[in-house]
């Protein structure tokens, strides 16, 4: 895992380099090719790492909480309200909020990202677990399935579409928010953009290439999860986004 080591600052040298770079055209492929391995590539990898950690931890926590709320219904309301409130906190503000506690580290960023992921996933998983209709549950009980068996063989499989739906939103949102991490750390795809903005004459290619990568990453993950849902739950043919 790369920790806190960002890509080197790229100062476009308008005196040298290709004519494209000198003229600051919109997208210089030569620049992209030249600097893939020292700027865009590492940033992409860091971004994926940031996202993966956040979604992984967030999912685990949300799942545990959702299972608890499924058992003890009274938990659902308060957790849901806290979640909704957390969601309104702007990410940059949340980052700043955490800094006095955890400093300018990946931990700070991850805590915030995990929070948002949790907030998105919790209601989705809960809704998924509750999606089994009462007669299905009654039939299961009447047939002699224990509670655990009902959970594992009926409620969880039926929750898969909602869970994956939540994952789609969570993953894409996290990729998006992770760009803001660049305000704190020199990591992720936000950093090239952030740097470029600091320059009085921002270098367009750097901005656009990093931006396109971020969007592409998000869209690829979204599509992959959609495919996953089709594979895992062939019986669910709904027109949800």
């Amino acid at each position: 895992m790369t920790l806190g080591k960002g890509p080197p600052v790229v100062i476009p040298n308008f005196g040298q380099g290709s004519s494209c770079v000198r003229g600051d055209h919109t997208l210089c492929w030569s620049w992209v090719r030249d600097h893939w391995h020292d700027t865009l590539g590492p940033a992409l990898v860091q971004h994926i790492e940031l996202t993966a950690i956040a979604v992984g931890i967030g999912f685990a926590l949300a799942f545990a909480l959702a299972l608890a709320a499924h058992r003890v219904r009274r938990i659902e309301q308060p957790v849901g309200i806290i979640a909704a409130l957390l969601y309104t906190i702007p990410s940059l503000a949340l980052f700043q909020f955490l800094i006095p506690f955890t400093g300018l580290t990946w931990t700070t960023v991850e805590i915030a990202l995990v929070s948002y992921t949790l907030v998105i996933l919790f209601p989705n998983i809960v809704a998924g677990l509750q999606s089994a209709s009462p007669d299905v549950l009654e039939a299961a009980r009447g047939m002699g399935l224990t509670r655990m068996q009902t959970l594992l063989r009926v409620e969880l499989p039926l929750a898969v579409p909602a869970i994956i739906g939540g994952l789609r939103v969570a993953v894409v949102s996290t990729i998006s928010i992770a760009t803001i991490a660049a305000f704190l750390l020199p990591d992720g795809l936000g950093y090239p953009i952030f740097l470029a903005l600091k320059d009085p004459t921002p270098f367009k290619t750097e901005i656009y290439s990093a931006g396109v990568l971020a969007v592409a990453l998000a869209l690829v993950c979204d599509a992959a999860l959609m495919l996953l849902r089709r594979t895992l739950a062939p019986w669910a043919r709904r027109r949800l986004a």
Partner: protein, 235 residues
């Protein structure tokens, strides 16, 4: 940015002191931010609201609505702001446009959903009674769609208000000016401004909730305002 001392709780106290000391200044900054946000959301409403409503009424173009929500989520605000900075220069307009684009996603998707999902039985009954399409839209669909419409508006507004600090790097002004300028304002100031942004988001959220309650006809007022409409991200 320099490495701050970790776990420094008295930074919080400093932050609140900062807020207290600079209240007028912060209020001005907040007003700036609201102005930018308001303009952006206004544009988005102007463009996306009618489009979403009409498409929803005709029950067409669900692909557009779904696509808007996916793209809206996948497009990081930082990228938007940076892109428009390069296109429109530094200042108010570039950020207004960037934020407007950001707000379009939730508004389009939610206004489509809101009208598209109005109780089909009610619409059927109305058509059977001889109402024209426009009458159905105005008298039946729109009133029933209000909760979800407002949900979309709320998400868009809160997202925009929350994103504005990021616009500070592109000359957006507002409380972001403080947040990205730790050198001048120190951590206490940055933290204080962040807290102010949080409060501002909450105020906007509650304000719109209040507006929704005031505008929604009694019969439609649902018990759950806080829908799980998870369009847009808290940037």
């Amino acid at each position: 940015m320099t490495l701050a001392d970790a776990a420094n709780l008295h930074t919080f106290v400093d932050a609140f002191r900062f807020i207290g000391d600079n209240f007028g200044f912060l209020l001005g900054k907040a007003a700036e931010q609201l102005e930018l946000s308001g303009a952006a959301v206004g544009i988005a409403l102007f463009v996306a609201l009618p489009l979403g409503i009409v498409l929803g009424h005709l029950h067409r173009g669900s692909g557009i609505a779904i696509g808007a929500s996916i793209v809206g989520r996948a497009l990081p605000s930082l990228v938007l702001i940076a892109a428009f900075l390069t296109l429109l220069g530094i200042g108010f307009v570039n950020n207004m446009v960037a934020l407007a684009v950001l707000a379009t996603g939730p508004i389009l998707t939610n206004s489509f959903d809101a009208v598209d999902r109005v109780d089909p039985d009610a619409v059927d009954a109305a058509r059977g009674m001889g109402m024209t399409g426009t009458q159905i839209l105005r008298q039946i669909e729109l009133p029933l769609a209000l909760p979800l419409l407002f949900a979309g508006l709320r998400v868009a507004a809160v997202t925009v208000v929350a994103t504005a600090p990021i616009a500070a790097v592109a000359g957006g002004g507002g409380l972001g000016d403080i947040i990205v300028n730790q050198a001048s304002y120190r951590l206490a100031g940055v933290l204080g401004a962040s807290i102010c942004v949080m409060i501002l988001s909450a105020v906007v959220f509650l304000g719109l909730l209040g507006l929704q309650a005031a505008v929604t006809p009694a019969g439609v007022r649902r018990h759950r305002f806080l829908g799980t409409s998870l369009e847009g991200s808290p940037e």
